[in-house]
């Protein structure tokens, strides 16, 4: 029914006349008859906008939106100032293409340049690219930056997010790199085991902090070890933690990557999100993806352009080190608007609030009979609980009250996530439910 053709039936006839054809089928002479689908009567008509909107609203309404959420594990519910949505819906930002024509794309180019700057400020690194698909692909691309013909051995920690792990395993198959895991001990990367795993072919090491269990890794030791061996270090971070936690650059990390979703991007069932990558000046030419640079125009006016393009696939073809030819500009825009409106103090406040709320819930939870901390280390806003009560019982109890339960890691382990949106009253309610479960569990 609906279509968006800009040409009327009458005008189509005029066009056919200009082309001297009877039927539009004549335009398809090159298509063999055996596979040509003639205009038939059995083609289904579409629906009106009214009907499609109705269907989509109905379907959206069948998805459960939890009143409160204690699940993170790579995707986080934060408060998104509504101005972020409104700016990201501006038509020109939504509908423009990759800014190939700088004269009429200064807006998008400046947005990306500002995003690159914000990511550098956030991570303390020298340079950033215009973003990649998500945190998992950012990790994979960072590894691809480090491997060389003779150095294809890559160490990754067992404590990284399992989604990232799966993506990296796939890249292992694709690139012919050798992945080896650094074992986990008490919820942390076992750095004592690290030196013996390093070989002369080791190109780089990938660790996340906070790691999948929410624990902060021992980055001082990690960076010292890696530097001694002359190996590239890659660190995955949760950007929200950097409002209070030490900047990765302090540890001398070579490449910092992460999932930018916490910065103003809705959960959206997993995408689109925002992978960011930042590195040291000397690695800039290995950095994949789009990069925007500042220059001047012929009158000496400040101008922004896509630059260092000779690194990219559309020029290097089979010699390129990455096939990425896009970026998540609209998601990067969201992150930039988010960081600009909250500002340095607001960002610190959100970061502090995540940590304080999470530590409050953890402390109170572990006072409840039958609930214990999974791991001893310091954490940011995620932590693991161990309980004699089966995970499924706890989940069922919380779901009854419209709460998205923590992610079950095993029959008795749960991964909790708390952010600034989980207010005290709400957490106290969860604690009361856990007490109930605990008492019921003990009664049995």
């Amino acid at each position: 029914m609906g279509n968006y053709l800009g040409v009327t039936k009458e005008q189509q006839e005029e066009m056919k006349h200009v082309l001297n054809i009877q039927s539009t089928d004549d335009l398809y002479r090159d298509i063999p008859d055996s596979i040509f689908q003639k205009e038939g009567t059995d083609l289904k008509e579409g629906l009106s906008q009214l009907e499609v909107i109705k269907i989509m609203k109905q379907k959206a309404a069948t998805n459960t939106i939890y009143a409160s959420c204690y699940r993170g594990a790579g995707a986080y519910r934060h408060f998104i100032p509504p101005i972020v949505d409104l700016i990201a819906q501006k038509e020109s930002f939504v509908t423009s293409y990759t800014p190939y024509q700088p004269e009429i794309s200064q807006g998008i180019l400046q947005i990306i340049f500002e995003f690159q700057t914000l990511i550098c400020m956030l991570t303390g690194m020298d340079v950033s690219n215009a973003s990649v698909y998500d945190g998992a692909t950012a990790a994979a691309e960072a590894i691809a930056m480090c491997v060389e013909k003779q150095k294809k051995h890559v160490l990754i920690s067992e404590t990284i997010n399992p989604e990232v792990k799966m993506v990296l395993k796939n890249y292992e198959f694709a690139f012919g790199i050798e992945l080896e895991f650094i074992p986990e001990k008490n919820g942390k990367t076992d750095l004592h085991a690290l030196p013996s795993l390093i070989t002369e072919n080791t190109a780089c090491i990938y660790v996340e902090s906070p790691n999948f269990f929410g624990i902060l890794e021992d980055l001082d030791t990690y960076s010292t070890l890696v530097k001694e061996k002359g190996i590239k270090s890659i660190l995955g971070v949760n950007p929200m933690s950097l409002g209070i936690l030490k900047s990765p650059s302090v540890y001398g990390i070579d490449i910092v990557v992460g999932e930018g979703q916490p910065l103003g991007i809705p959960l959206s069932y997993g995408g689109p999100y925002l992978g960011f990558m930042a590195t040291k000046q000397e690695l800039v030419r290995k950095l994949p993806g789009r990069i925007v640079g500042e220059t001047i125009d012929h009158d000496g006016k400040r101008a922004f352009v896509l630059t260092l393009q000779a690194r990219e696939q559309h020029i290097r073809r089979e010699k390129a080190s990455s096939n990425i030819c896009s970026n998540q500009a609209l998601c990067a825009l969201r992150a930039s608007v988010y960081l600009s409106v909250v500002g340095p103090n607001g960002f610190r406040q959100v970061s502090n609030s995540c940590a304080a709320n999470a530590h409050y819930l953890a402390e109170e939870m572990f006072k409840i009979h039958g609930f214990y901390r999974g791991y001893p280390g310091e954490f940011f806003h995620e932590f693991v609980s161990v309980s004699q009560i089966p995970s499924n019982d706890i989940i069922a109890k919380l779901e009854e009250h419209h709460i998205l339960a923590p992610l079950p890691l095993s029959e008795n382990k749960l991964l909790w996530c708390v952010t600034e949106v989980n207010q005290k009253e709400e957490m106290d309610f969860v604690l009361s439910l856990l007490k109930e479960v605990s008492e019921d569990g003990i009664a049995i």
Binding site: A75, Q106, S336
Partner: protein
Amino acid sequence: MELLFEKTVSGRQTSYIPELEVPFYQYEDKYLNEQSLDFPELSELDVSRHYSELERRTFGINQGFYPLGSCTMKYNPRFHEQVASLPGFCDIHPLQSLESVPGAKFIYEKSEELLCKITGMDYMSFQPAAGAQGEFLGILLIKKFHEKNGEGGTRSKILIPDSAHGTNPATAALCGLNVVTVRSTNEGYMDLNHLRELANTEIAGLMLTNPNTLGVFDPNICEITKIVHEAGGLCYYDGANLNPIMNIARPGDMGFDCIHLNLHKTFSTPHGGGGPGAGAVGMKELLKECYDEVWKVKAFHGHFLVVVRALCYLLTLGEKGIRDSAVQSVLSANYMKKQLEDTFTIKQKGFCMHEFVITLEEESKNYGFRALDVAKAFIDYQMYPPTMYFPQIIPEALMVEPTETESKETLDYAVEIYKKVYQDLKRDPDSAKDYPKTTPIHRPDEVSAARNPKLRWRKET
């Protein structure tokens, strides 16, 4: 124009979240960030005005004709944006139980059903974030297939025509395959004799765009896929140019085993200034088992909200609307091409598909103005230039793809301007470098940008 960082006023801020209701958590010093964050300090109004100004400096489809060849810049229906911001789609966690998201399940299943029908595939994956990642997954499927058949070590070559987009060879090479280039004939078709020479037991398969980057449909397509299959290879279809043949010819019927679609081109989801798009990958039954092993190319379930938009499009158009769009895209391209033929040298001699390629090779030699100059001059008439210098095998190329959503009036206006610009430049080639004249900046110095990269703002010290 000033940057966010240059507008900052210390102490300016807006409040978004309440004060702490729980005790402040004090980390040990060794974890704490002692450095100050340099983010800008601005009011919401400052930020609002900043981005409004940036929007004025960004040319979108909402502002004018956008005939970027090979990018399919069709109208992005506005109601899709509204649907994609419904809380039932935006506020669901990727690790929620499947039972709690029947609506999300519907989005994926319905999109799969409809896209399989259009392409002649058996399954459709929505994992890949973009076309390039779709190619990556597709090539992994082919690699896995041969590995499972015990030929992983021997089938190490991939055939790619010389007209292919640069991403094809980049993807194949990243996946450890050796790229072997197949020649094109003068008409822009694949050279069958060369293909026969190259198709042997060392090939993993073929990557092909059809219609190809020259905007022509290869009439030998069934023969091509047959030759590759007989040599034991698989055929990969790059869906960059599916738009003109939707519900007219299906890649599955042409003999392709797996394909990727760019939902942001063909199925009208917006480009967002460079992304996010989505690259759906279709495959036939024989690759399903391989898919179960290599499906994970990104975290979670792909670009869900992009698929939501594509489904809105598929439902609105229906099979008939989809076919009508394809036909109109071809009709419009040929209509434009026909009228430009008396002025410009156009590569395709017969009918083109949805796009055509102008070459200014002669003009650059004889008059000294280049494809770049012509493109820049169009900007002054409120239209986005065509794709420049692509495909790479055509010198001084301008690739024009009007798409089906542009009106006849727009096409007529564009034809008039294209001719006017051409005559103006021919008359006064010395003025070539002055265009565009009406934009906030004139031509930027890309050489110094690349020689002395300045990739971030820094506080002046």
